[in-house]
């Protein structure tokens, strides 16, 4: 039986079980790294550095995790704080990778093409819209979780999601006209 996050956390806290923490890292690394890649606008190296700092911080402060939110949401919150601190340290980072403007091919048919088209489509969104879409549709976070995670009012979350969906509906119409 696969242990739950709570069980793994309890093992880490009780006996400093590194293997249990390693399991937690493996479970959530993709989510945290993906989230930070969005925040850093695709700066993979910076995102991974921040993700590593995020997990080390999580380990150090695991006793303060109260379970009010899910463990993954808690991790993303730490990651966002590290990203903010990094931005303050280096304001230029936000300008390193400017979103590319591109057109979406309506005739693409393969998965790689879908990935390519989606990448281009996501670049048409604002950073906030991308974040909202990522957290809401890829991470499955609720509106209130997104609001808490990004310090946005609930209405702002809904607005960003609605705008993002409308843009994607148009940009990805060739893939699924019903979206």
């Amino acid at each position: 039986v696969t242990p739950s996050d709570s069980e793994l956390i309890a093992r880490v806290l009780a006996s400093d079980d590194r293997a249990a923490f390693g399991e937690l890292v493996q479970r959530h690394q993709s989510s945290v790294r993906q989230f930070l890649r969005y925040l850093t606008r695709g700066d993979v190296a910076t995102a991974d550095d921040l993700a590593q700092e995020t997990f080390v911080h999580a380990y150090r402060s695991l006793a303060r995790f109260r379970g009010d939110a899910s463990f993954s949401t808690w991790l993303l919150g730490i990651g966002r704080n590290y990203w903010r601190n990094a931005q303050r340290r280096d304001l230029r980072r936000d300008q390193l990778v400017e979103p590319m403007r591109g057109t979406v091919s309506p005739t693409a048919t393969h998965s790689a093409d879908l990935r390519h088209d989606l990448t281009l489509a996501l670049r048409e969104l604002t950073t906030d819209e991308r974040l909202a879409i990522h957290l809401g549709y890829q991470e499955g976070k609720s509106h209130s979780e997104i609001a808490a995670l990004l310090d946005w009012p609930l209405g702002t979350v809904k607005t960003h999601l609605a705008r993002a969906k409308e843009k994607l509906r148009h940009l990805l119409a060739a893939w699924n006209p019903q979206i």
Partner: protein, 130 residues
């Protein structure tokens, strides 16, 4: 009132989710977890305190004595030579207590003091936990 936390997915939302997940698969670990574990602080209750410098010095001393013993350093001839050296040093110190007896002795004293300071000087403050 519209529920905000339940976030019910419509069919459109499900399609969008499916497309997003298909187009952006999970990031492979590729050693990331290993790097994170390597970056964690050392375990609290490990044997590391035993490997502190005083302990390492004591082990080194014992090993050195054992090796010396094995090579016959503590034979009668060596013991007598050592006694002569000790007498010579004592005489030098007694006759000229204010000054070391030559640069060799001064160097030896400085090296000894430095070694002791290195071994024990910072250890207690460094090991102490908040």
């Amino acid at each position: 009132m519209e529920p905000t936390d339940l976030n019910p997915l419509s069919r459109d939302d499900e399609r969008l989710s499916a497309i997003l997940r298909e187009a952006q698969p999970a990031i492979a670990d590729d050693g990331f977890s290993t790097r994170v574990l390597a970056a964690l602080p050392p375990p609290k209750n490990s044997a590391l305190p035993l490997l502190s410098r005083p302990f390492a010095c004591a082990i080194g001393t014992l090993v050195g004595i054992a090796v010396a013993w094995n090579h016959g350093v503590f034979s009668a001839s060596f013991t007598s030579a050592f006694a002569e050296l000790r007498a010579s040093v004592s005489t030098s110190l007694a006759t000229n207590a204010d000054m070391p007896a030559g640069p060799g002795l001064a160097l030896a004293l400085v090296a000894t003091a430095a070694s002791l300071f290195y071994a024990f000087g910072f250890t207690s403050a460094r090991v102490r936990r908040p």
